[in-house]
Amino acid sequence: MTAVGHRWGAWARGLVGAVAGATLMLTQGHPDAAGGLLPHGRLVRMDPLPRDTGMCIWPAAVQWAERASERQSRRRALPTLGDETKVLAGPPTRKVQDKYPGFAAIAVDPERNEVILTDENLFQVLVYDRLENTPSNAEISTPKRTLAGDNTLIEFESGVHVDVKTGDIFAPNNDTVDTLVVFGHGTQADTAPKRALHTPHGTFGIAMDDARNEMFLTTQHDSTVVVFRKEADKDEAPLRLLQGDDTGLADPHGIAIDPAKEVFYVANYGSSGLRRADQEIRTGVPGSGKGRDKANWPLGREYAVPGSGSHAGPSISVHRLSAKGNDRPLRLIKGPKTQLNWPTGLAFDPVRRELFVANDMGPSILVFDADAVGDVAPKRVLKGPKTKLANPTSVAVDPKNQELWVANFGGHSATVYPIAASGNTPPLRTIRGAPESAPSLMIGNPGALTYDSKRDQILVPN
C-alpha cells in the first residue's frame, strides 16, 4: 500500500469507527449520544436558553439547546428565586469595558465602494464608504449601515466575505452562536440573515471559490478546513473535510484562495492535539458542536488523544483546493525568517500573485510570493509607527483600486495603503471607530479572570 493509500485506509477505518461508536452510544443511552435523534440536555428548567451554547455546555446539551434556540429568543428569562435567597442585583462598583468597536475582520467591495468590518466587541457588522477618511478633529466615522441585534445572530464574527457580484455579506461566528450568517446588500439594523448556516464550533476564517461555488471555513478547536456549498443553509453538511495528523493544520485562522493555481492558504498559530475516530471518547468533554451526525463534520475534542498536544509554531500551510481527509499540505511557509507571530488574517492578490498576512503581534503585514516555501523572508513587510498598525487581525485586497485594507483590532480602526506599500508607510486613509486617544482594551469573550493580590491587579484572558 502506498503512503497515500495507507492514510486513506486509516481515514476510512476512522469513519467506520465513528459510525459504529455513534450507534453504540445511542443503544447505550450515552449522555453524549444525542446526535439530533434523542432529547438530551439539562431539562431542569423552563427558562429559554441563550444562543450562547457553544463553549460551555456539553455536546448533548449543545445539540438540544441549538434546537431550542431556533424557537426561542437569545434573551434568557429571569430565574425565579424564593425568599430564601437574598438578591443583590445592584449595579457594579466599577465596570471596565471598551465602549468602541473592536474591528476583527474586513472585506472590501470595490463595485459598490464599500468596506465591511466586523466588531467582536459590540457584536456588529459595519459598512463604511470605501473613501471614508476620519478627519483628525472628528471622534469617529459614522458607518453607512450597521447590522446588530438579536435577530441578526451577530456576536463574535471572526471573518467576513463580500460577494462582489451580489453584494451579499458572509460572516462566520467564532463562538457562542456557531452560525454563519449571510445578509443581502443593503440590509441593516436588527434584521434576520437571509441564510444562517450551522457551522462547527470555533469557525474562524472564510474564503470563497466562486468558480466551483464552494465556501471554505477554518475551525480552530479541531484544526480543520470544512468546505460547504456557497449557498449552504441551515443544517446542510459540509462537502469536504480536511482534518488529520498530516494536514499541517494547527489552530487555523485566516484562509485565502489562489484560483489560478487551485490552492488555498491557511494561517496556523501552531497548537493542536491528535484526533482519533476510534478513540474512547471522554465523557463530558466539550465537542465540536451540534453536527456530529452529519457527513464531513470535524472530530471534536471528545475524540482527542489524551496528552497528544503540541506547539509546532506558526505557519502558513498551502493545500490543493480539492484537499480532504488527511491530505498533506503541498508546502509550508514556516520558520524564523518568516516573521510569523500570530498570523491571523490572509488575503491573496491574484494579479500580483502575492499573499498578504495580517501578523497580529508584528504588528505588521507580511507579503509573500504566491510560491513561497519553507523558512523564507517576506518579500515586503509593512511595519512601523507611521503605519498605525495595531494588532492587525484581518487584511483585504482591492485589486481594482490597487489598495490594501487592514482591520486593526488593537486600534479601533481600519487603515488602507497602496497595495505595494512596504516599510513604515502611513495609511492613505483611516476609518476610526473611536477617538484616537481611546485605549483599546481588546477584551473579548472573557471566560475567566483571576485577582493578583500581590499587585492589586485583575488578570483577564480572552
Binding site: G309, M442, N462
Partner: protein, 275 residues
C-alpha cells in the same frame, strides 16, 4: 476570538481603562479557550490552560508581552484531553484540572510530561462533565462543579463537595443539586473560606452564593449582580476579600465588573444560615 491575550488591569480600573500590561504573542504559547486562570500568591505565578495544545502554562507573576511560560505541563503522561478550567492550591503545591468524568491533580512545581499525582473520578463520585474546582483550605475540602451522572443523559448541574485529598472512586461528602437549588451552570467558582461561602457564576445572569455546608436542593443564599442587573453572561470570577470585592468577567458585555459587597465578606456560614 481575534486576539487571545491575558490582559491586566489595576484593581480600581474603571470605564475605558488602559491595560497595565498583557501577556500575548507566539512565544507565550497561549491560545483561545482560556476558560480558567488562577494566581498562585505564594509562588507569584499565573497558571492558565492551553486547550488546543493540551497543556498547563505557568508564567511568572509579573509576566508581560511575549514572555515564555516558566514551566509547561504537557505530554502523554498528563492524560489531558480538552482542559478548560483549573484551580491552584498554592499552600499544597497542587493544580486541579476538571475534565469530563475526572478531576486531575498535578504537582504545581512539576514541568514537562508528568502524570497527575491523583485522579478523582468514577461512578461513586456521582459527577460527570466536571467543569470547575474550588478549594477550601480552612476546611480541607474541594468543590467540584459538574453534572450529575444520569443514564438518560439528562444530568443536572451539581456542586459536589469532597475531602481535599479525595482520590479514586469515592463518594462526595455533600452534594448541592436539584431543580430547587436553582443551579443552572457550574461555571467558574471561588470559595471564601472565612465565611464558608461558595461563589458560582450562573448563566442566568448572576453569581450564586451557597454555603459550603449546604447539602441537597438548596437555593443560593445570595445572588450578586442579578437577576435583573446588568450582568448578561458571567463567566470569570474571583474574590478580593481584603476589599470586599466580587470580580466578574462577562462575555456578553466583554467587560469586567467589580461588586464591592461588604455584607458578604462579613457573612459566616452560621450567620447566613436560614431560619
Amino acid at each position: 476570538m481575534a486576539h487571545p491575550q491575558i490582559a491586566v488591569f489595576a484593581r480600581l480600573a474603571d470605564g475605558q481603562a488602559e491595560r497595565l500590561r498583557a501577556i500575548e504573542g507566539q512565544n507565550t504559547m497561549l491560545g483561545r479557550t482560556m476558560h480558567g486562570i488562577d494566581y498562585d500568591e505564594i509562588h507569584d505565578e499565573i497558571v492558565v490552560p492551553q486547550q488546543f495544545g493540551q497543556a498547563i502554562l505557568i508564567f511568572g507573576g509579573a509576566a508581560k508581552g511575549e514572555a515564555r511560560p516558566i514551566r509547561v505541563i504537557q505530554g502523554s503522561k498528563t492524560m489531558l484531553t480538552a482542559l478548560d478550567r483549573l484551580a491552584v492550591d498554592a499552600p499544597n503545591n497542587e493544580i486541579y484540572v476538571p475534565e469530563g468524568d475526572r478531576v486531575f491533580v498535578f504537582d504545581s512545581r512539576a514541568s514537562g510530561n508528568v502524570a497527575p499525582k491523583r485522579v478523582l473520578g468514577g461512578p461513586d463520585t456521582g459527577f460527570t462533565a466536571a467543569g470547575s474546582v474550588a478549594i477550601d483550605h480552612t476546611r480541607n475540602l474541594i468543590v467540584v462543579g459538574a453534572d450529575t451522572r444520569s443514564a438518560d443523559g439528562r444530568g443536572l448541574p451539581m456542586l459536589a463537595i469532597f475531602d481535599r485529598t479525595a482520590e479514586g472512586d469515592v463518594k462526595p461528602r455533600r452534594v448541592i443539586t436539584g431543580e430547587k437549588s436553582r443551579l443552572n451552570d457550574t461555571g467558574n467558582m471561588r470559595i471564601y473560606p472565612e465565611g464558608g461561602l461558595i461563589f458560582v457564576t450562573q448563566q442566568t445572569g448572576y453569581v450564586g452564593v451557597w454555603s459550603i455546608d449546604d447539602n441537597g436542593a438548596i437555593p443560593p443564599r445570595f445572588t450578586v449582580g442579578g437577576p435583573g442587573g446588568i450582568i448578561q453572561k458571567p463567566r470569570g470570577l474571583d474574590l478580593d476579600p481584603k476589599h470586599n470585592a466580587v470580580i466578574v468577567s462577562d462575555k456578553g458585555l466583554n467587560a469586567l465588573l467589580t461588586y464591592e459587597m461588604p455584607q458578604l465578606f462579613r457573612t459566616t456560614t452560621d450567620q447566613a444560615s436560614r431560619r
